[in-house]
Amino acid sequence: MAWFMGIDIGSGTSKGVITKDGESIAVEILASGINYNEVALKLREKLTAKARLDPKEIAYAIATGHGSKNVSFCQEQVSDIRCCARGINRIYPSARTIVDIQGQSSQVISIDEKGHVINHAASEKCATGSGRFFNILANVLQLELADIGSLSLTSNKPIYLNTGCAVFCESEVVTRVSEGVPVEDILAGAVKVFAEKMGALINRVGMRKQCAISGGGTLNPGIVKALEQKLKTQLLVPQQPQLVTALGAACLAEEKWQ
């Protein structure tokens, strides 16, 4: 009997998964805050409580993500690229391309049938290529982040935004609001800008079917639809896309131990 743990410390939220025989038996999501080790310890506490385990019973733990190097109790750190690839492979063995949309960056990963990384491209230099873009939009339009996606889906006349810069977009959005353009049309336009960015990133890696998505940004159904239109294919969408990387870390921990 052995249990494994994956801890994914992101810029906004931190995620943890405990697995047993490759199945996840406990999951937890917390805000990252400013002390990454503290949030990791809290994740471990909550996860082991949910699984009715003692932390000592975790055979192997892997930390990944933006703040993984601050985590004190894991045996190993692994890049989020490998963990994400492994996580998607566990959920969707047929996936060959992954679009991973995180709070401060996004990446496209090309994988083989075993979940090994073949190629990879990241957008981390520009806020428009990350979930941050939607935080900015939510803020300027005074909407809840969670509502943006579904609201954008109600538009049948997306506007064309002239810019791919989050800062300039903010000004343009204010202008459009003052012109009386419905907010759903503005959002649908912004989602298209984002999908264009992702399309360019996917082209750098090369699109191989099937394509899966992961990361918190994926919770926005507007993005999923816009990407499906852009890529002209149906995407594999996990039920809990934010947990994919933590799950992958736990799976890698299990393989490591065996």
Partner: protein
Amino acid sequence: MTDMFFAGLDLGSTMTKVVIIDNNEKIWASEITHTGAAHRRLANKVMEKALEKAGLSFNSLALVIATGYGRMSVPFADKQISELSCHARGVVHFLPTVRLAIDIGGQDAKGLKIKDGKLEDFVMNDKCAAGTGRFLEILSNFIGIGLNELGPISMKATDKCSCNNVCTVFAQQEIISHLSDGIPIEDIVAGLHEAIAMRTVRMVRRIGIEPDICFTGGVAKNCGIVKAFEESLGFPVFVPENPLLSGAIGAALLGKEIVMNNGEKDVTIKRPDRHLEAVSFFK
């Protein structure tokens, strides 16, 4: 010959500039006002102020040229000329031997390659706030230091801190993390200036870097950026006395040249129905 007067109006995203010159290229008046939301429609007021300073009436202007981002919506202009042509002309007026002109305005950055006083090639960034005046505006606001103080503060830097994030949004977070690491603000500001300079240098490298180099636009008023440019370009950088006016002066000079060249052909370009009226976007 009696004096003739020419006006150039540069309606930028952030500032509206007007220059009035005579046929000897002497500047009679110049005016710079925030474009803002209201003034975007009131370019005529800026023109009125300049005319008042020069002691001239609107009708005495032989030709009014509009340039800049909002040039198409100036109803009282006789002609519109692209800002690239106007900037090139203005820069050559400031520095006749110029080969590379860098102009960083409120929302864009341009590089102009000039040969024998003529525009040969250009590069431009108007797609991303990083490397434009907007970047500095947002960051100065964010750290609570006036835009005009950034340059002098950065001059005090002893150990310039490198800023890796080009994105305006991410740069704000980077500033927080540098500040929490105890890095002095002057070292951070100097690092931000260097980041803008490096980004611009990478852009203008596409058209070639050759002296003499002239730097204009609002951002040229920041001595820290000028210094960062000189370090990364490896050449001295000339900044005219009023770097914001290059587009408006260039427009006025091009206006003068049009009238002078047409004088022999006896063609009227001045619109007979020209009135000094407010800008309208909804015609």
